[in-house]
């Protein structure tokens, strides 16, 4: 493998023990991925700031104490704590104090305290074709698919190592030929009324993730110009049920003006004709509460973090009504978006209606929910996918409209309307 002089210097400890350890890990990854050189990255997004146990803290503090400083602009993913609304945390105080130490360690290394899983909703975004080192599965798939930036499927540890060294192996999705679409999901068979609904997109993502394996999927047959929030939902779901790190949507994403370009003029390895029954099965898979009447304990929106446009939709759907007093309704977003909706006057209106904003973290990864008995509704496939395991809750998946109506009524309403045969 070719290393630059600086790479070799780092390995020899020229920039201190933290940079040395970081470079060793980058080089080890390069060996395993078969890369023959390292390349520079323009930015990093670090996922390691979410507390999963002592090991993550040991590693961050080892790097910080070894003089680790990030070399490229670096954003931070969600943490375990909402520092803006500290009273929302209901977990163990020892965990909170370790989680706080972990956050502090990353900030001390020069990372920006953005605390969001949707760094692509911040003002500075990577450009088309730019090499970056992003962690967090939904951010990875968004950066690759929607922005056309290039990141491999990085995770905890390598994210901060890439940020400190500014280097990654030239492998995986950094290489043009690895970005070629390989399995085509043809959605022309879906009814138009389903294609028009936001709720289709996370479900489509879910079934694509389960079906694609390690192949790069292409969605073909959607009307052109699918919006960013729908692509966000599709990608996040695909990265939850599968290992999807790039999904082309023909006519909507930058490397897929046409199906042929998404496939880089090759034949696909596999083609799947998506049916309404498959979408329905994906939806049923997300509802972990059995049939029958359930007490609605909560509604959770915003995984990945809600965008300004999605807040606008929420305000319109609530239409001046209030959340039912027995339902806790959380909306996860970033500090940045929270500030934006504050200046639009929406935040006051939502809080007055009983909506509880959560920032810096997300309600499925930390202890915030007051009630975990009864059922919890969400419009997020990612939330529905992980919350039963993380929190032990039972989930009903529905559209944003269904979630809002249910939150107002205080019971699960309307979840079957779209799905009944007409």
């Amino acid at each position: 493998m070719r290393l630059s002089d600086r790479d070799r210097g780092l390995l020899a400890g020229a920039e201190g023990p933290a940079a040395q350890l970081a470079m060793r890990i980058v080089a080890e990854l390069a060996r395993v991925t078969g890369a023959d050189e390292l390349i520079d990255v323009g930015s990093a997004h670090v996922d390691g700031c979410l507390f999963h146990g002592q090991a993550g803290l040991d590693f961050a503090e080892r790097l910080r104490d070894g003089g680790g400083v990030v070399r490229v602009p670096t954003t931070l993913n969600v943490s375990s704590l909402d520092l803006v609304h500290p009273g929302r945390y209901r977990g163990d105080p020892d965990t909170a104090s370790s989680a706080r130490r972990l956050m502090d360690a990353y900030v001390a290394m020069g990372c920006r305290p953005t605390w969001t899983c949707a760094p692509y909703q911040l003002p500075e975004r990577p450009g088309f074709g730019e090499h970056i080192a992003w962690a967090e599965s939904n951010a990875i798939v968004f950066a690759n698919s929607v922005l056309g930036a290039r990141t491999a499927r990085y995770g905890d540890f390598i994210d901060i190592c890439a940020a400190i060294t500014g280097r990654v192996p030239y492998a995986g999705l950094h290489r043009t030929e690895r970005r070629r679409g390989q399995v085509v999901f043809d959605v022309r068979g879906l009814p138009a009324r389903l294609v028009a609904e936001d709720v289709l997109y996370p479900l489509l993502g879910l079934l694509i993730g389960a079906e694609a394996g390690s192949l790069v999927p292409v969605v073909d047959g959607l009307p052109p110009g699918v919006g960013e929030d729908r692509l966000k939902a599709l990608g996040a779901a695909a990265a939850s049920s599968g290992e999807v790190a790039l999904v082309h949507v023909a006519g909507s994403t930058p490397e897929a003006p046409t199906l042929a370009e998404a496939l880089q003029q090759h034949r696909p390895r596999k083609a799947v004709a998506v049916t309404a029954a498959m979408v329905r099965a994906a939806r049923d898979q997300l509802t972990s509460a059995g049939p029958g009447r359930h007490r609605l304990a909560g509604v959770n929106l915003g995984a990945p973090h809600l965008s300004v446009a999605e807040f606008g939709e929420l305000v319109a759907l609530l239409a001046g009504r209030s959340i039912h007093p027995e339902v806790e309704c959380y909306v996860n977003t970033s500090r940045h978006v929270l500030a934006r909706i504050g200046t639009l006057g929406w935040l006051d209106a939502l809080e007055a209606a009983g909506v509880r904003p959560v920032v810096d973290t997300c309600t499925y990864i930390t202890s915030i929910l007051e009630h975990t008995t009864g059922v919890v509704m969400t419009s997020s496939a990612k939330w529905a996918w992980y919350a039963p395991g993380n929190l032990g809750v039972r989930v009903v998946f529905g559209s944003v409209r269904e979630c809002v109506e249910s939150a107002v009524e205080g019971r699960v309403v309307g979840v079957d309307e779209l799905w009944e045969p007409r």
Binding site: A55, E136, F157, G213, S214, E243
Partner: protein
């Protein structure tokens, strides 16, 4: 690939080289360690995974690929730190996220969890096979049963195998039952249908407090808090343990329990029913063996259960006698001492129990042979009210019921 009898040697590609050995756990679907492995228990906790509840700790994990979250590196590193990681991971294709977790854990703690790419592993290795990993070489020793067993992933037997290493096939057991002169029994879960009893006692409470939870989930929660209570308060009488368990369950499920409800649950042991085959099986076995009870219960509660079982035991060791709860070794040491007074040496003692966690692990540590009465076979994943064994354990024989043990004894006698 070279093969000689039940031994197969494979050549993989080491992403992270090291040495490891353990019983194989072959995953039927990819697993994200984040949201999929609970590093505190070492068990598979992804509700979407067909093998929910299987023990990963100490196993050689054979899996198609990683999946989902990029936080899996942290979870694997934490599992290595806590000792709940797999012994090694054999993947069909490289997975950098798992590699990084193992690599960082090695830097931080000096402990290796080797990761190899070995695409043919899922074909060549069955759950329960013993696997040794050394560098890029993998040696697999499959028992007759593991090699011959159907590889159909939908096979129920295959699923039932996921939580333990190996057991001899039913048609030709390796264990000669005639070689023993005393049987020690666990009581609750083996002879007494405690899960039915527990649910009958908990359901009215759950209904009164609007706790909505499925039976299996409720039993699993019971198993978790009960084992903690028993470990934390080893000399408390069992009714008091149970009363505390209800309080813990209420906290965990976001409900409350009054002291009357807690006391009533503590007192419910006397109502727990016997399995339908227990009394007849004990009557038969009592004609061939000395019978001993080693049970996590108090003497008063056991008297009610004993009435349902119909036989007179040669010795009864309760938690009250042992001053501890299994999996502590006290019960077994006491039982062996009492059997020695009756002239029975420990190599003539066979322990019969449902719980790998409470019974097989401590009994085998003391050198006892064990029979697994796998009462939960065919009841899906998860261990019900019984926590998973913290380390791999290989019972000498597995039977689904006490009646099946009697049948086997009859057949061996007839030979």
């Amino acid at each position: 690939m070279t093969s000689s009898g039940n031994r197969v040697e494979l050549q993989g590609r080491a992403l992270l080289a090291g040495e490891a050995a353990g019983a194989a756990l072959v995953l039927e679907a990819p697993l994200s360690m984040w949201g999929g492995l609970d590093p505190h228990t070492g068990r598979l906790c992804d509700h979407h995974h067909p093998q929910l509840g299987a023990t990963i700790a100490g196993r050689v994990l054979v899996m198609p690929s990683g999946r989902g979250s990029s936080s899996s590196s942290s979870v694997l590193a934490e599992a290595v730190r806590l000792g709940s990681a797999p012994a090694a991971v054999l993947l069909a294709e490289p997975d950098e996220i798992l590699l990084l977790g193992a690599l960082v854990a090695q830097y931080l703690y000096g402990r290796a969890c080797p990761i190899l790419v070995l695409p043919e592993a899922a074909q060549a290795i069955a759950t329960g096979d013993r696997v040794v990993v050394r560098g890029d070489r993998v040696v697999v020793r499959g028992d007759r049963v593991a090699v011959a067993r159907s590889r159909d992933p939908h096979d129920e037997e295959e699923k039932a195998m996921t939580d333990r290493p190996t057991a001899p096939a039913d048609d030709q057991p390796a264990l000669d039952l005639g070689a023993f002169s005393a049987l020690t029994f666990d009581c609750y879960g083996t002879l007494i249908d405690w899960e039915t009893g527990i649910l009958a006692a908990l359901r009215p409470w759950a209904a009164a407090h609007r706790v909505e939870i499925g039976d299996e989930e409720l039993l699993a929660a019971f198993g978790r808090v009960e084992s903690h209570r028993e470990a934390d308060d080893p000399t408390a009488p069992y009714p008091r343990i149970l009363a505390g368990v209800l309080g813990d369950l209420a906290t965990e499920l976001g409900a409350t329990a009054s002291s009357e409800e807690a006391a009533a649950f503590g007192d419910s042991v006397k109502d727990w029913p016997a399995f339908p085959d227990s009394a007849d099986a004990l009557a038969y076995l009592g004609r061939h063996y000395r019978l001993v009870i080693v049970s996590n219960v108090d003497r008063a509660s056991f008297r009610h259960s004993n009435a349902k079982l119909g036989v007179t035991f040669d010795a009864v060791v309760t938690a009250e006698d042992a001053g501890a709860y299994k999996p502590a070794p006290n019960h077994f040491q006491l039982a062996l001492a009492q059997l020695a007074e009756l002239g029975v040496a420990s190599d003539q003692v066979l322990h019969v129990a449902q719980s790998l966690f409470h019974d097989h692990v401590p009994a085998q540590r003391l050198g006892l042979r064990t029979v697994w009465v796998n009462r939960r076979a065919g009841r899906g994943e998860g261990g019900g009210a019984t926590p998973a064994a913290p380390v791999p354990v290989t019972p000498d024989l597995e039977v689904p019921t006490m009646a099946a043990l009697v049948d086997l004894h009859r057949r061996q006698q007839a030979r």
